[in-house]
Amino acid sequence: MTETIGTRELIVLDTGEETVRGTYHKAFDKTGPGSNLTELNRVGVLFLNSLSPTRAAPGDSAVFWADCFAKCGYPTFRVDSPGFGDSDGDPPPACLNFISKGGHASVATAIVGQLIARFKLPGMVIVGLCAGAVSAIYTAAATPECKGLVLMDPYFHLPPAIGSGGRPVMRQRLNNRISRSAIGRLVRGKGGRLTTFRVFFSRDTLPSNANVLLLDCLRGAASAGLPILIFNAHTQQKPLQFDYLGYILGLAGSKSKVLVKTVEGTGHSFSNPTGRATVRQHSESWLNAWFPLKKCGKDDEKMLRSQFTSETVSCTPQARLPLHSKG
């Protein structure tokens, strides 16, 4: 029995509030005679839990991506948030509300700080899916050690109110039940078209359930020029909603380095072969552009990065972005 193998090491972090368990994917070290790797840019990559019970994520997709990024030369970490997976404690009651209000940010900030100190990293790129993306945005706002964000299907609305029993309030439950019925589906179809119409003519007004604090954190990070890569899964049944990302990009200003990719043929977890491959390919190119491990000339660097700035990339094929309702 060993805690370290050739490519991985098991780690425990004491965040002050909680003890969390994680896995470190060792960076493949290409250093050797003639190597021109620059240690200064060897940022770490940290995966935060979504609402997935474990740090492996659905279909063990986070394990796959972490292995890939480590092979590219980036030390990569996956941790179980407090109350999840092998970490201590229980998940917070009304977990989605807790995360949506930035409840995991303080622990995630402590994790980032500890990993940077322990592995002598210049900074950390934080990766999150759904609720993990929400935690990643809050963490980026809380620590300057976050050097970039990779967000998969983030959501920008507040979840429905939760009753004392930890379930949605009666009105929401009734609404959910009716909307699944045949009549509900008919009404929802017409309602969807009405929503599209309403959203189109009120593009600058945030919906009443918008998570304003989260949007402000993301706008702040984008305005400050933090490189941000966002993946959206394009599925048929996502309801058309307010274009939160368009809204953010509109406010972020000229320094913004936000790239949005819509991925067809995958689901919300990006765990099928298409989702895995697309996230891997674009994330590796993006990491290489913003945090290159090889020294290159200023012109080369500029050219590489020009492919990953919001000015030069068409964000999505659609005018309005579909977003998921929960993680």
Binding site: L10, I11, D14, R21, T23, D86, N272
Partner: protein, 272 residues
């Protein structure tokens, strides 16, 4: 950064890798103060592992708090263990159980050893018990064959996909099964289910002598318990509802701990 730590409840947990042919298994040892027995938890496979994980971990902690040392792990190619899921066979997963059971029984001092499996894990634990391992066997919801568990997982996944896909892109569960029968691999909740694993799964069954716990206990001269878990035990079993809640399953844990205690004669007076 040692991989061992004390939980708030004062329990020591240690995560380690265990070497098996061509892979490393991720294991977590839940240590007990002055242990009186040892249990190897043989969990469900792939996507079921994902949903059942929180109550499975809580069960391990429940046992450790009562003087039972617990080892739980991920199968080769699943979760935190290394290896490619799509290349694995039931033979390799059975070997995982055997190698870990050997490791547990080699620990000192020698203590009563219980094999405990859930779903497909129950079949694999049962096969090892049949081969002579373990002083007692506890099985939660063993399916009639591994195929029954894979099929249930596939049907659930196909149902979810029906909801997400447009009518022209929908694939029925029957069509997925046809593809598997033709030897193609399909994606089920992020795992590549191969045609060969599907066809092999029909033959992965409990030995017939383990179909009934009363007669099995007599035949093997070692205690055997089979517990069929209903929806109230979700998310340990389908429909996996409430996997983010801290669901109170103490009713299940306490009755099964009592069975383990009687099976391996844990002295009275241990904390319950």
């Amino acid at each position: 950064m040692p991989s061992q730590y004390l939980t708030k409840a004062g329990l020591s947990e240690e995560a380690r890798y265990f070497t098996v042919p061509d892979a490393h298994l991720y294991t977590v040892l839940h240590q007990a103060t002055e242990p009186v027995a040892r249990v190897l938890l043989v969990g469900p496979l792939a996507s079921e592992r994902h949903f059942s994980y929180p109550p499975w971990v809580r069960w391990a902690r429940y046992l450790a708090a009562r003087g039972v040392e617990v080892l739980r792990y991920d199968y080769r190619g699943v979760g935190e263990s290394t290896g490619a899921f799509e290349k694995m066979t039931f033979g390799e997963w059975k070997e995982d159980v055997e190698l870990l059971a050997d490791w547990v029984t080699s620990r000192s001092p020698r203590l009563p050893f219980v094999l405990h499996g859930l779903e497909i894990g129950a079949i694999l634990a049962g096969k090892c018990f049949h081969g002579g391992m373990g002083d007692a066997l506890l099985m939660w919801s063993p399916p009639s064959s591994a195929n029954q568990a894979l099929r249930a997982s596939l049907l659930q996944w196909a149902g979810v996909k029906q909801l997400l896909e447009s009518p022209e892109n929908r694939t029925s569960a029957a069509e997925y099964i046809r593809q598997l029968q033709q030897g193609s691999a399909i994606d089920v909740q992020g795992y590549q289910l191969s045609g060969s694993l599907w066809s092999d799964s029909f033959d992965v069954k409990l030995p017939s002598s383990l179909n009934d716990d009363m007669s099995a206990s007599v035949a093997y001269k070692r205690p055997v318990s089979i517990v069929k878990l209903g929806k109230s035990a979700s998310p340990l079993v389908p429909p996996f509802r409430g996997y983010l809640e801290t669901k109170d399953l103490n009713w299940l844990y306490s009755s099964n701990f009592d069975w383990i205690a009687s099976a391996v004669a844990i002295p009275a007076g241990r904390p319950k």
